[in-house]
Amino acid sequence: MTEGSILESLGSEIVGIVTPVSICMLLVVLLVQSLTPHGSDAPVASIAMLVYDEQPTDSFTEKLGGAMLNALVFVIIVALVTFLLVVLFYFRCTKFLRAYMGFSAFMVLAYMGGGVVVLLIQNFSIPIDAITFLVMLYNFATVGVLAVFFSKMPIFVTQGYLVIIGVLVAFWFTMLPEWTTWVLLMAMALYDVVAVLLPGGPLNMLVELAIARDEDIPALIYEARPSARNIAPMPNSPHSVSINSSATDLAGQATQIPPRWRRRVVTAPPPSNASIQLPANAVNESAINQETVRPVGISALRTESQPQPPGQAQALVPPHSTVVMDGVEGNSRAGGRSEIVNIEALLDDVAGNGESGVLSGAIKLGLGDFIFYSVLVGRAAMYDMMTVYACYLAIVAGLGSTLVLLTVWRRALPALPISITLGVIFYLLTRFLVDPFIVNLSTHYVYF
């Protein structure tokens, strides 16, 4: 109402990342609800089930042990592939990586997308002939690959395709048996911590390497850059902070951060040691550059999904899930804000993309986070909608607190652990405490 009210600008970056995550989860839940026969586990073979083939009739210990083995093997494969990626990146096999990324994205969109659409067509008896379907599918997948990797498209299209890739992969993951899914989620959260935070962690190395070389991080990353606003992420922002979930550690130490992201803009303004670096023309310049700049950030995408023979769930080596807050806060204002509490720092950072043009932080979240959040929610959807809502709220709360930590610690952070832990805890609480409680109350028509 009031022109330029602070409520309108504060938090827009967080909402910008929460919205696509929510959309992704919503789509997965809808798919699960409409395509999975209620309560049935129809396990499909996949890489996540190399060791143990879970059967609903197995005993508790068998399931737990087998699921842990499965998860362990899966995490080891993920780690190996990530190391392989680091090695390829180290030897600058950029062409190969790009081609592989494009190929895997095409396979996800065409093969897995096609599979889902065929299921939908069968389920809802949609009349369509094979040729039309194939042509449309081919177009859909090709545009997707181009949007995600190669050409400049409206950022909305790119973001949309990223969410679709996340939805498709997550949907196939929900076909894993129940115990394997839960243990796998927790194992991935643990792996995430190790891979991102430890110095020798593959994702950490990957990002360090990318930063040292001034290249793009080879990972599938969703970038929450507001498309409507014409303020590009500030090239000259001396700081970049990233949360990073299984992929990338952007900011080793805060002191090293400054030069790292300047590359993102083709014509980067002078180095950031000029701490009063935010004159109006800098803003304009970066706004002009936005179109050129955008694909650079976005194209840092990579999925390790491998196409598999028909009838198998896609096993996906998680794309390096990362939250990166790019150019969050300038040193220029650091002095002014030292006394401020953390939350305020966050709000402040987030407010940066306002008209004041102070800074525009683009938070980046790895697609792996999208996928595993959605897997959790999709798995919860196989029990009941109540667990879905609880898990959704828990995951968003976890994501929010990770973003708060991001501004406090100013380094790449794993985005899975807090959210997944909260999600699992609230799933159990809701399933065993809240659900019977609410059913009892509401079937007696007693509410509060």
């Binding site: 109402m1 009031t2 602070i6 909402v15 929460v18 609410i438 059913v439 028509y445 509060f448």
Partner: protein, 270 residues
């Protein structure tokens, strides 16, 4: 979840369009005002969205706590009186949460004003404050609707319906939707009234919010009586109407006293 309860469904042989429309109808009854509120007030302001999420999540935590305490003592047909201490503790817990929210709000307001000054933006306006209070309350109301109504509505989209013995007048889903609607309105606007009361030091307004919450909650106990659900749901709906009317009255009077805000207030309260 309710699987055991649904066994008595009259199942139709094929997908029933009528019940799908019915399910949609129940959802819209419960969520209609919520959708309107969300798209008119909340959606354009990211900070309000965050406030909303915090509020919903905290309500969920309070629900988990209450459920954890009472899970072992869930009443059955023979000992319905257990609902009285249960509801009492639940309402007390949530009113304590409201109190905590007020203190949180004071902090948030302070921080927002500091940031506003730094970004050379206007400090929080009366309407901004109202909207924050509204978002807090709306979060509580929405959480109630989500867990007590929306989560249970899923079966209503499928074939069949469900009636609880003792209430033949309306289906379980309609009952959940109507009560959900009432509590959505009560929670939303009583938070605005309470925050306003705290801000002005107005004791009667501070007492109004918990009072109305107690009243509406214990009105639902009427539903336990044979055929009492019609009266119970009317009572909770009246509580909702009273709450919104009181909220409207308070803000209208204030707006009259302060003409600067009057034009804006109409948009906050429809």
């Amino acid at each position: 979840m309710l699987d055991t309860k649904w066994e008595t469904f009259e199942r139709s042989s094929q997908r029933d369009e009528m019940t799908f429309v019915g399910g949609l109808g129940y959802t819209l009854i419960a969520l209609g005002p919520a959708i309107a509120l969300f798209f008119t007030v909340i959606i354009g302001k990211p900070f309000l969205i965050l406030t909303l999420i915090v509020s919903i999540f905290s309500w969920l935590i309070s629900l988990v706590l209450i459920a954890g305490v009472w899970r072992a003592f869930l009443p059955s047909e023979s000992n319905v009186w257990v609902y009285i201490p249960l509801l009492l503790s639940a309402v007390c817990c949530q009113e304590a949460a409201r109190r905590a929210f007020w203190h949180l709000y004071l902090k948030v307001e302070d921080i927002l004003n500091k940031i506003a000054v730094r970004l050379s933006k206007p400090r929080l306006h009366t309407v901004d404050k109202l909207e924050i209070a509204l978002a807090f309350g709306f979060g509580h109301g929405l959480a109630h609707v989500i867990f007590f109504c929306l989560a249970l509505l899923t079966p209503s989209f499928g074939p069949g319906t469900f009636y609880v013995p003792g209430c033949t007048q309306m289906s379980f889903f309609l009952m959940a939707a109507l009560t959900g609607l009432s509590f959505l309105i009560i929670h939303t606007f009583s938070m605005v009234i309470a925050f306003d009361g705290h801000a002005d030091g107005n004791k009667s307004q501070q007492i109004f919010a918990p009072g109305m919450h107690f009243l509406a909650t214990f009105a639902t106990l009427v539903n336990l009586a044979e055929g009492g659900c019609v009266y119970g749901v009317s009572a909770t709906l009246s509580c909702a109407v009273i709450t919104s009317a009181v909220c409207w009255k308070i803000q209208w009077d204030k707006a009259g006293a302060d003409p600067f805000t009057s034009s804006n207030l109409n948009r906050t309260h429809h």
